[in-house]
C-alpha cells in the first residue's frame, strides 16, 4: 500500500514538472477552463434567474448543482481523462507492453500516468460557485450536510472513474476509440443541470446507465439538506457496483490484449 502511495506521489510530481515545463500553455489552459465554466453559467442565469422554480429547483439551488458539476469536471479533466487518453494511445501503438511489464498493478499504473495540475482551477471555481450559491440562499449548510455531501462526491468520483475505465477497456476490442472519451465527456455535460428537469427515458438513462444524478444532483441535494433518506445508500451501492464492474471489465479486457507485434 505504501509503495503505491509513493508511486502515486512520483507520478504526480512528474505531471507537475511537465506542466511547469510548458507553463505558458498550462496558464492559458487554466484560464480557458475558467472561461468555459463562466459560459456554462449563462444559460442557467438567463433561464432561471428571478423566475419561478423549475422542476423544484430555484436559480440558487441549481447553482449548487453547477458548483459540484464544476468540481467534478475538474477531477475528470485533471485526473481521469488525461491518463485514459494515454492508454488508448498505448494500445494503438503497442507500447502498452512496457507498462504491463512493470512490477505494479496495471490498472493503477495506467490510471495515474498523467495529471493536468492546472485543472485544479476548476476545483477552486466550483467551490467559489458553491459559496456564492449559499451566500444567495442566505443560510450556510450544516456541518452534517457538508460531510454527507463530500462523502457523496467521493463516491461520485469513484463512479466517474469506473465508467471511464470501462470505456477505455472497450479500446482493447475496438482500437480507434479516442473520440469515445469525448463522447463520454459530452454526456457528462448533462450533469450540470439537476436530474429532475429531464423526463421519461432520458431521466432513466441518466439515473441508472450514466448516473449523473448520483454524481451531481445527490451531492447538491445533500448540501442543501433535502436528500431523500434512502439516496445516500443508493449512492454507496451504486458506487460499489460501478467500481467492481470497472475493475472486472478492465482485468478481463487486458486479458484480450495481444500487443501490436502478434
Amino acid at each position: 500500500m505504501r509503495r503505491y502511495l509513493k508511486l502515486l506521489a512520483l507520478q504526480l510530481r512528474m505531471s507537475i514538472a511537465l506542466g511547469a515545463q510548458y507553463r505558458w500553455d498550462s496558464l492559458t489552459q487554466g484560464a480557458l477552463s475558467l472561461v468555459w465554466t463562466v459560459l456554462g453559467l449563462v444559460p442557467l442565469y438567463v433561464a432561471l434567474h428571478r423566475r419561478p422554480a423549475v422542476a423544484g429547483w430555484t436559480y440558487e439551488q441549481a447553482l449548487v448543482v453547477v458548483g459540484w458539476f464544476t468540481v467534478l469536471k475538474g477531477v475528470l479533466d485533471g485526473a481521469v481523462n488525461p491518463s485514459l487518453i494515454l492508454v488508448v494511445e498505448h494500445i494503438r501503438k503497442g507500447t502498452l507492453d512496457f507498462v504491463l511489464m512493470k512490477p505494479a498493478d496495471a490498472q493503477f499504473l495506467v490510471s495515474t500516468a498523467r495529471f493536468e495540475p492546472w485543472r485544479a482551477i476548476d476545483l477552486v471555481a466550483g467551490t467559489a460557485i458553491l459559496v456564492w450559491a449559499f451566500h444567495l440562499l442566505g443560510s450556510p449548510p450544516s456541518a452534517a450536510a457538508i460531510a454527507l455531501s463530500v462523502l457523496l462526491l467521493l463516491l461520485a468520483v469513484a463512479v466517474l472513474y469506473s465508467l471511464w475505465i470501462m470505456v477505455v477497456a472497450a479500446a482493447f476490442w475496438v482500437v480507434r476509440l479516442d473520440n469515445l472519451s469525448y463522447l463520454m465527456s459530452s454526456l457528462f455535460d448533462f450533469g450540470r443541470w439537476p436530474v429532475s428537469i429531464f423526463k421519461g427515458p432520458v431521466r432513466f438513462f441518466f439515473t441508472f446507465v450514466v448516473p449523473i444524478a448520483l454524481m451531481t444532483t445527490y451531492p447538491a441535494e445533500a448540501l442543501l439538506g433535502r436528500l431523500a433518506p434512502g439516496s445516500a445508500w443508493v449512492g454507496i451501492a451504486g458506487a460499489l457496483i460501478f467500481a467492481l464492474g470497472g475493475r472486472f471489465v478492465f482485468t478481463h479486457a487486458i486479458g484480450r490484449y495481444t500487443s501490436a507485434s502478434s
Partner: protein, 263 residues
Amino acid sequence: MRTVTAYPTLLRIGFASAVAYRTEMLVWMLTMTMPFVSLALWSAVAADMPVGRFDQKAFTAYFLATIVVRQLSGSWVVWELIQEIKSGALSSRLLKPIHPLVVYSADNLAAIPLRALFAAPLALFGIASGGAAVPHQPHLVAAFLLSLFGAWIITFFVMVIVGSLTFFMESSTSIFDIWLAFFMLLSGYLVPLELFPSWVRSVADVLPFRYTLGFPVEILIGMSSDADIVRGLAIQYAYGGGAAALALLLWRTGVRRFGAFGG
C-alpha cells in the same frame, strides 16, 4: 481553370474518405450534444409558461435546427491545418499544382452529404413535433440555402485564419478556443439570442458569430421577417468576403515563412 476541372474529382475523393471513416464521423457528430443539454433546461423552463415567443415546441424546433445547421455548415479545417503546419506535412500539399486551400475546402464540403444523412432524422423529427413553421415558399428556401452556405464560408475562412496563425505563433489552438467561447455565447448556440437583454442582442447583430449559426436557424424555423433576412444575408456575405480576403492574405504571408520543420 485547372482548379475548376479538378474540383469535382476532389469532391469525389473527399466523399469517399468521409464514407470510409463513417463510424468515426458518427461518433464525432454524437459528441455535439450541447444543444440537447440546453434543450432539456429550456423545455423544463417553458413547461409552465412560454418564454418570450418560445414555448416548449418552439424550443425543441430551435435546438434541433441548431444541430442540423451546425452539421451542414461545419468544418474542421483548423485542426487539420494546425497539425499539418506543426508536423510539416503541409509541404507535400504545397508541392501539388493546386492551391491547398482548394483541396481543404473540397474535403470539408464533400462530407456534407453524409452529415446531411445523419442530420435528416433530426430535422424530420423537428418538423413532425410540429413546433416549427418550416418555410416552404421558394424564396425562403433559397434564402435558407444561401444563409447556410454563407455560414459555411465564414466558419471555413475563420478556421483558415486561425490555422494560418500557426505560421507565426505557437498557441493558435487557444485562439480558436477563444473564438469558440464567443461563438457559444453570441451565435445562439446555448441560448436563443432573442432571450438575451436587448443590448446583448444588438451587439450580437453586428458581430460575425450570429451569422455562423443563429441566422440560418431562425430562417429554418420561420422566425425571421423578409427584411431581416435581406439585411442578415448582406451582413453575412460581407463577413464571409472579409474573412476570405484576410485568410488568403495571411496564408500567403504565412507560407513564405513556412520552413517545413522536419517534414
